[in-house]
Amino acid sequence: MNVDWPWPWLPRNVDKIAAALGEHLYLALLPVLVGLIVSIPLGWAARRWPGVRLVLVPLAGVLYTIPSLALITLVPLLIGTKIIDPLNVQVPLAIYTIALLVRSVTDALLAVPGDVTAAATAVGFRESRLFLTVELPLAIPVIVAGLRVATVSAMSLTSVGALIGIGGLGELITEGFKRNNAVEMVVAIALIVVLALVIDALLLLVGRLITPWTRVRQGASR
């Protein structure tokens, strides 16, 4: 194929690229946030009741196996949205985030040492305070690890929505392909990769900042 590299396209379309970038972030990050919020109580329930765990963990595995294009296409059928509704991308992304994080949260909560919870109970912590101020903070490193994978995946998955007309930067990829404009495609791909890496680094940083005790322990001999 004869490829066009119309570099002047780039400065002429800064506004368009910025709009696609904003849409991409909105499409990708909102579901990850919702997924995080939903998976914490689910993980709590899975930790508390083995029966819930036995249902949730395999169900998460099954949902995570379903290809994104299939799930994006089926959302209108399942919840009655229109075909070009942003929810069609956001609902699958939230489902994948939950499927990934429920396991992380459950594992992290199960890994909290028994003597820590016993000590907190002994000094008079009730169950809700124990969970919010002792167990959940101790689970943060594992949750952040899951969140990083979920976020980076979401940045890439969002572009698949472009195949059915919703996709932020993904739409620049499909438009560039149709118009034989390699510049448009390269710009979109590069922006997606850079955004993913920047957000990944930010999450790593925030995760370290809010768990200062993980760094203290490395210095102290135990």
Partner: protein, 255 residues
């Protein structure tokens, strides 16, 4: 493009499309598309395995080039496969080769990581025992490390296969076949057409079912081919995993 404009209830029209006998025969029927899809997947995974298993085994055995494993999986995780595939087709030509190459790029990291981790995780005492019995490096790798690493190698192959099945749907966008055809064609047909949304949703159902069936089959294969000596610990681990799945095996999803 409201699915409800497509005439009648979307669930009904989807099921009607899905079970229409006309859509189950001929070179554009569902069985033919499934075969095409599995063909792309098999070709990709074979090529990727031929590259990644030897490479991962050598890196795991010698301990040299470890940076390659982490670098590849971190670097490629953020790459949008839709972009890679369409750009490669645009830069070369419309055909199987650029599509398979971009799918191989996607399939390499999990197989490489699985093989490397499998070899590295082999009990050092077992490797020492093999050396003590007089085995040389090559024999240790072939007869001790690789069989012991099989569960993790197969795990890597499994996640690679599922990633490729999911991503091969994009092949239809660059004018190839496979199950993505139904979704892309349905989307192009537009609302109101009986081959519009119902075709898309029917195709999506077939894609989802195919992915789940392949996942089940591979899990079965994994159980059958792993040495009985390893199987005990593997099943014990599996039982433990239902209760407490280890988190390090977080698999990213790009399609």
């Amino acid at each position: 493009m409201d699915p409800r404009e497509a005439g009648g209830e979307p669930v009904n029209s989807t099921l009607t499309w899905l079970f229409d006998p006309d859509h189950w025969s001929g070179p554009t029927g569902i069985p033919a598309r499934i075969l095409e899809h599995l063909g792309y997947t098999a070709l990709t995974v074979l090529v990727a395995a031929a590259i990644a298993i030897p490479l991962g085994a050598v890196i795991g055995h010698t301990g040299r080039g470890t940076f390659l494993i982490a670098g590849l999986s971190n670097g490629l995780r953020a790459l949008p496969e839709l972009g890679l595939l369409t750009l490669l087709v645009l830069l070369t030509y419309v055909g199987l080769l650029p599509v398979v190459i971009s799918l191989v790029v996607l399939a390499l990291p999990p197989i490489l990581a699985g093989t490397y981790a499998g070899i590295r995780n082999v009990d050092r005492a077992v490797v020492d025992a093999a050396r003590g019995m007089g085995m040389r490096g090559g024999a240790v790798l072939w007869r001790v490390e690789l069989p012991n690493a099989l569960p993790l190698i197969l795990g890597g192959l499994r996640s690679a296969t599922l990633q490729v099945i999911a991503t091969a749907t994009i092949a239809a966008y660059v004018a190839l076949g496979g199950l993505g055809r139904f979704v892309i064609d349905g989307n192009n047909a537009g609302a109101g057409s009986p081959d519009g949304y119902p075709q898309m949703a029917a195709g999506a159902i077939v894609i989802a079912v195919l992915a789940l069936v392949v996942e089940g089959v591979l899990e079965l294969v994994q159980r059958l081919v792993v040495s009985p000596g390893l199987r005990d610990t593997a099943t014990r681990r599996r039982v433990a995993r239902i209760w407490r799945r280890p988190t390090p095996d977080l698999v990213s999803k790009s399609t």
